[in-house]
């Protein structure tokens, strides 16, 4: 076992090379809806059981199913109303199960990136060939369903294994979301190829907030706004990133969708915000800031 991921160097928050975003924006704000399918009868995995109750876990399954049948459509309408595109963390089997969802995403000009095949198929314990096979198949499926290239990655249920990041780079993935170590994009060290990390979030993610921290809707909106306020202020010094990860089965519930509406109205009401996608943030950072960051690290973060 490893004692640390080993994928990045220490980069103190002070003295970093300045990041600038397009049009003088202080903050790159992106929304990452996790559009998922949890199988009714998935195979077991030694490190994690897919469901808490015996299969079929009707309560768990039907709750997630709500996201695709109902929640997604509500969430997408709210985002469209505010002109906020999504960067979809996609269980790519959704392309086969529910093509109408993919159609709606494409119609709204959303990015699709991979969140594995199903949220009930973990990377825990896969060998490199198996991981590679999933990444390749996911790339083909996204291309076939949307015409898009696969640039981004979040391992299904964040179940990455020790070698996953290396394989992502080798398979041409440009950005990973598996690490939560920063509020800016950072270089990622891999055995070959190139990979960067851009900020995802488990702090203002609806799953930990609404399910684990038992947050009511209004409080959820207040937390998201507080996160935004601070990153917007700090972005005056050097550009920050705020990701708002969503799960339609939670945020698309009728008692919660107005909280999303509230947060997005607040965010787009600020003028120095870059409403970006994951791919756009990764491309901009790679082109304009990656080399400088690497030199600064090589020089010992002076």
């Amino acid at each position: 076992m490893l004692s640390e991921p080993g994928h990045y160097d220490y980069m103190p928050w002070r003295r970093r090379p300045r990041i600038t975003w397009p049009n003088g924006a202080r903050i790159a704000f992106w929304v990452a809806p996790n559009i998922e399918h949890y199988e009714l009868d998935p195979p077991p995995n030694a490190r994690r059981m897919p469901w808490t109750r015996p299969q079929p876990d009707v309560l768990g399954y039907s709750w997630r199913d709500y996201g695709n049948r109902v929640g997604f459509w509500r969430m997408a309408d709210v985002m469209a109303r505010h002109g906020v595109r999504g960067s979809v963390s996609l269980n790519v089997a959704v392309c086969d199960h529910y093509p109408e969802i993919i159609e709606r995403c494409c119609e709204l000009d959303w990015e699709l990136f991979s969140h594995g095949t199903y949220n009930t198929r973990y990377f825990y314990g896969m060998n490199e060939d198996q991981q590679r096979a999933v990444i390749r198949e996911n790339r083909e499926t996204i291309k076939r369903a949307s015409g898009q290239e696969l640039d981004g990655w979040l391992t299904p249920a964040i179940s990455n294994d020790e070698t996953t990041q290396h394989l992502l780079a080798e398979e041409g993935i440009k950005y990973t979301l598996d690490m939560l170590h920063d509020d800016q994009p950072t270089p990622i060290k891999v055995r070959s190829g190139h990979l960067i990390s851009i900020p995802y979030s488990l702090e203002i993610n609806d799953v930990p907030l609404l399910i684990m921290r038992n947050t009511p809707p209004e409080r959820f909106a207040a937390i998201c706004k507080a996160q935004f306020d601070q990153l917007y202020e700090e972005g005056a010094e050097s550009g920050t990133v705020m990701c708002m990860p969503l799960h339609p089965f939670l945020i698309g519930q009728p008692h919660r969708v107005s909280a999303l509406d509230d947060v997005l109205r607040y965010v787009v009401g600020h003028d120095k915000v870059w409403l970006a996608t994951g791919r756009e943030i990764a491309a901009w950072y790679t082109e304009h800031h990656l080399a400088e960051a690497q030199s600064w690290i090589a020089a010992g973060t002076p």
Partner: protein, 321 residues
């Protein structure tokens, strides 16, 4: 190199639609528009979880929400419980007192309710059954009791006997008008729906995946699946998440507002099912919040207070296929 078994990357149910045959996929915008009596925008169903929790209920394979969490014999859980946030939540209390407060609140407002009833209560508390009948509450069968959960570890014959016994108990008191089923703790085996259809039920509620009814297909016939949230329920928010009462009532009112606006925008009626529990909402310090919530909902207007069976009938008449 060792890895996971080969079939871990094999997906036998990866195809258009669901990964099972129980119901087809349907996106909310594709749901057939429905109208309610008097053009109401919202069909409002108060669904009351009337469970009986045996003190010796099994704690495997999981403890049902509200189940005995303290060591046997937990008089605390069985009769009354201090949840640590200074709320008192109660089981048997709910069937003795809490449910009467709810009945009073609803009756005085002319509102019906649907009781999701542990069938054993039909035998245990005949006086309560008489009062439910007089209040014109709809009775739906919620299994035998909270200790007899339906899950894949239960042998088929045993599960069939449980469904049949539960159906017989509620029908012995309320007749064949009992058409609705709810599996206790929203838990089922792969056979439950078939056994429920076999026992002559016409609708089920507990799959928390839609705001609009849809049809489930079993080998023993069809069932209408009616909406029932767990996420937005007093058991979830007050008992499991320890949230203040006002967070629950506010969430219900927000959901009402969202659904009401959707009904207005789409021209299709919407359904709001409010799942409540006598040992939670029926306690003295919460009942006024419950009353205020009901009054706010009715004050919004264009509400049709109905039982789940009535809503199912209206939906079915407009969705005959």
């Amino acid at each position: 190199m060792k890895g996971l078994p080969e079939d871990y990357l094999y997906y036998p149910a990866r195809r258009r639609g669901m990964d099972h045959e129980i119901y087809p996929f349907r996106a909310l915008p594709k749901a057939q528009p429905v109208t309610w009596p008097n053009g109401a925008r919202i069909a409002l169903c108060i669904a009351v979880h009337m469970g009986h929790f045996p003190m010796d209920m099994p704690l495997k394979p999981f403890i049902a929400p509200g189940g005995m969490e303290r060591p046997y014999p937990s008089y605390w859980d069985y009769t009354l419980r201090d949840y640590g946030n200074w709320d008192y939540t109660l089981r048997d209390y709910g069937n003795r007192i809490g449910v009467y407060r709810l009945m009073n609140s609803l009756t005085v407002r002319g509102m019906p309710a649907t009781a999701l009833l542990s069938a054993i209560l039909a035998r245990r508390y005949p006086a309560l059954m008489d009062d439910l009948a007089e209040a014109r509450w709809e009775i739906a069968c919620a299994g035998l009791d909270m200790g007899r959960l339906h899950h894949s570890g239960v042998p088929l014959d045993q599960e069939r006997a449980t469904v049949q016994e539960a159906a017989a108990l509620v029908r012995a008191r309320f007749g064949t008008s009992v058409r609705g089923w709810h599996s206790p703790a929203h838990s089922e085996s792969s056979d439950t729906l078939r056994l429920v259809a076999e026992a002559g039920f016409s609708f089920t509620t507990g799959w928390a995946n839609d705001d609009v009814p849809y049809v489930m297909v079993t080998d023993a016939g069809r069932l209408i699946c009616m909406p029932l949230s767990q996420d937005l329920s007093d058991q979830r928010m007050l008992h499991q998440q320890h949230l203040p009462t006002e967070d629950f009532t506010k969430a219900i009112l927000t959901a009402h507002q969202t659904l009401d606006r959707e009904a207005e925008a789409t021209g299709s009626g919407r359904i709001l099912v409010v799942p409540i529990t006598p040992w939670l909402m029926g306690v003295p310090h919460r009942i006024r919040a419950f009353n205020a919530m009901l009054d706010s909902m009715m004050a919004r207007g264009s509400v049709w207070p109905a039982t789940m069976g009535q809503i199912a009938d209206h939906w079915r008449a407009q969705n005959p296929n």
